[in-house]
Amino acid sequence: MTLAATTLMIFAVSLFAGTAGAILGLGGGIIMVPALTLLFKVPIHQAVAASAVSVIATSTGAAIAYLKDRITNARIAMLLEVGTTAGALTGAFISGLLEARWLFLLFGLLMGYSAYAMYQARKTELPEGVKPDEMAVRLGLSGSYYDQALDRTVPYTVARTLPGVGLMYGSGTIGGLLGIGAGAFKVLAMDQVMRLPIKVSTATSNFMIGVTAATSAVVFYVRGDVEPVVAGPVALGVMCGALVGTRLMVRLKGSTIRKLFVPVLLFLAVQMLWKGVLG
């Protein structure tokens, strides 16, 4: 295949990853790494580095749109980022010490369970009866957003804030250790534990993932794993995809987004279990 053809195809796959990532609050890593290694035979280190770049690209592209639409909750993001970046640091620290295989198996099972939980919640449009905890009140975490699909303004508040920060720490560690799943974990934590509306969860997750991926990306760059011929079209494709994805997300109903999440979580679970089984 010529370089031009390969570049175009990588761009096309990245478009899809960026679109899906922007809708679901993920970085697209779960699509990019298998696609780059299996379809394009990119060496794994370069694929992982390009994937980190794609997460930053999704995050940047999606954040611009969601911040302007006032769906992202900047306060919640700034609070949770402390947890998520600390987790990423921990993940990087302990990555040499632990047998990754067992982690992949454990989190594969966790993801599988989450897929089931999301499936159970698939008809839920908005959270009901959420009581803010004290931390949420003191930090002013409540908010509201205009839901285009429902054609109304939705006020919301936050529960179990500190456990939420703890889960963000966990998600950052997983991302640092396994390279995938951090975005999905964030959305799950915000959705199921902190009881935020699903659109606020995905938009806020999109905002946060860029920062954690940037830390990894700097390390990859210094190690020379960022190959311009791979990461370039990936970044461009993902950014364009994110622009499309954000326009789609605001028009979708929350329950639709939940239903889209279920196969993604299953796909993640399968990928993790696969890695865990193969070792």
Partner: protein, 94 residues
């Protein structure tokens, strides 16, 4: 929080656009004009801009929050910045 959101949005727009433009030009140099070294260099410049964008938006948020005297959130942003920078330093020495 409004001023923080507008500054951050502006920064992300500039970073994203500059990065996308640079990468696009680099790809054009590489594929259309066959300039391999120049093309790769310009793409890499775009990628560096992209990677620096999230980190700079944390710094920008910190700056605005301090000006706003929102010390709680300024502290949170500062914590994130410290963690980010120590992560980068740690990564380089590893």
């Amino acid at each position: 929080m409004e001023p923080v959101v507008s500054v951050v949005t502006r920064l992300l727009q500039i970073g994203g656009a500059a990065s996308a433009l640079s990468i696009a030009i680099g790809i054009a140099l590489l594929l259309v004009l066959g300039q391999e070294a120049a093309g790769k260099a310009v793409i890499t410049a775009g990628l560096i801009i992209l990677i620096l964008t999230p980190i700079s938006r944390v710094a920008a948020a910190l700056w605005v929050l301090l000006r706003q005297r929102d010390y709680i959130y300024a502290f949170l942003s500062f914590a994130v910045l410290v963690i980010l920078l120590s992560g980068i330093l740690f990564g380089k020495t590893k």
